[in-house]
Symmetry: C2
Subunit: 333 residues, 2 copies
């Protein structure tokens, strides 16, 4: 393997797996210098399978993608798997998963390596998204970066010195559970005023619905015709882009709340780049502008000098690309 | 130098300098395996000298300590200097200092190396305190740790993988300026609700005086006899130890506020050790108990599994020991 790497350093092949709560997606990825190309793809629904069924499906699909690569005359160097939960990266063990039933202390690496004769790497999905951005995305070329994914929850990954920072219990990066209000609303995690409690999908919608019920004026109001439960984030993004003051105000608040927490992150870690990704981030400028402004208002000016706050470049592919990239890394990282 | 290090790895000598706003302290330190001993000491007042005068004093004192070491038959390997401000560690340049006048972009390392023929290392004092704790103090043996110093301000240093984490602008570790209340009182830094605004020396005293003026009952009240401006943190610590409910409540609040911010730090960095030092920390258990309780209430339980919250072991020597230890490190760290 070392020899071959020396012979053709320009082109390397690996498989990335994005193990989500809804779908498991697999991609055969060819990396060239600092770019990547997805050359094979496959996916299957998560919820149809038991734990053992999922592992079997994974094995079948990985072997199939490996066969495709052989057909193309290239060899798969490794498989990286990103899961929505905590992973003991060094042992390749899934410790616990969110939104996927019956996955505690599963030696996923060992189970797969018994059947697939390539190195397997397992890590947390937010870590891998951050890794993708730092290697091939918005933070390419920077050695330290913080990545935030805004969706149902607010996740995060920290890259220090080009490597994933995992923490003592593989639980680092929980930016969504930094409290921005010590007396704020109770969070599912047991703390209070966690930023996720203000900017998570569900809470944005709840807040919007509450305000509409209380009589707030908005173009979405007419569109819903009293059926507030049909409100979606897309409607709010659309309304914001059409300068609907109600929606603009709501997104502004999301941006300010994220700005408050990221100002604290900047004061603590002084990163050069913060990458914002995830579904909620699709509101784009509506969130990013107030977020950037709030960070600059609140964080140390010296720490903002070189700071760049960028949108994810790998987007929905970040997890799969990060997983595939990790499969090419040194296992001791 | 390499050769000599190989010959006697057990005993190495360096000079540590703690460049404070009130005193500059210098120590000749002998390191043996994982212990240290101060074998020479010197200090002078900071405010009596101009910038150039301070540099001259530093040179004179360092040369004198070096001479002492020669007398003892040992050779000084390097000099480490901790300053209260931002330092470009790689260039050895003091970027700006707090509480010391006229120090901006001073090439301290170059100025000293011209006169003293040993390697000079310059770094931020909170970074060096953290380094001392991680190498020879409470966090000895752990590769990641977060150190917090509670005094006039709340400072911090972050050690990752045994190395000081400095950030893109050498401004990382500002734990005192993590906001615990987005709408909280305005901080000198321009942000709102920074934890320093609740637990910095001055704010503890201000809060206590305000409550006493409003009629709060306490044993310190009689001691002050109306002269509230004479209240000190020592009086409040004493009163707390004697179970004065007013003081106990005040220290409890300090501990809870620190616990709130450290729970966020734990969720973000998942460190194995947090070391608490600095003057305010002298209140000891009065602060540490509610701090520990609050962290456990608020941070992810999995991140608390291995977490240790310890008092500083190097105490007031942390800065000088960290500086001396850094002088023995690889400059590329």
């Amino acid at each position: 393997m070392e020899n071959e790497a020396k012979k053709s350093p320009a082109s390397r092949l690996s498989i990335g797996v994005d193990f989500g709560g809804t779908y498991v997606k697999l991609a055969l990825v060819r990396f060239e210098e600092r770019n990547y190309k997805i050359v094979g793809y496959s996916f299957f629904p998560t919820k149809q399978y038991s734990r053992q069924g999922l592992i079997e499906q994974l094995i079948i699909r990985i072997i199939k993608l490996k066969a495709e690569s052989t057909f193309k005359g290239l060899r798969v160097r490794g498989v990286g798997i990103g899961v929505p939960g905590r992973v003991d990266f060094h042992r390749g063990t899934v410790l616990d998963l969110t939104n996927v039933h019956d996955w505690r202390n599963v030696s996923l690496r060992d189970e797969l390596e018994r059947k697939i004769k390539v190195p397997i790497f397992v890590d947390n999905d937010a870590n891998l998204m951050a890794y993708a951005e730092s290697k091939y995305g918005a933070a390419k070329g920077f050695k330290d970066c913080v990545c935030v994914t805004m969706g149902t929850g607010v996740g995060g990954g920290i890259i220090i010195d080009g490597k994933i920072y995992r923490g003592a219990n593989f639980a680092a990066g929980e930016i969504g559970h930094i409290s921005i209000n010590k007396n704020g609303p109770t969070c599912e995690c047991g703390s209070r005023g966690c930023v996720e409690r203000y900017v998570g999908n569900r809470f944005i919608l709840e807040e919007a619905v509450q305000r509409l019920r209380q009589g707030a004026k908005s173009s979405v109001r007419e569109r819903l015709n009293g059926r507030y439960e049909n409100l979606t984030l897309e409607m709010l993004s659309d309304a914001g882009r059409r300068k609907d003051p109600f929606a603009l105000n709501l997104w502004n608040e999301v941006g300010v709340h994220m700005g408050v927490v990221l100002a604290s992150v900047v004061n603590m870690l002084n990163p050069q780049v913060i990458v914002i990704g995830g579904g909620v981030a699709n509101a784009g400028k509506l969130i990013l502008d107030p977020m950037r402004r709030t960070i600059r208002e609140r964080a140390f000016s010296v720490s903002c000098q070189k700071l760049q706050i960028l949108s994810s470049k790998c987007k929905e592919k970040a997890g799969i690309i990060g997983a595939a990239a990790l499969a090419l890394s040194d296992r001791n990282e």
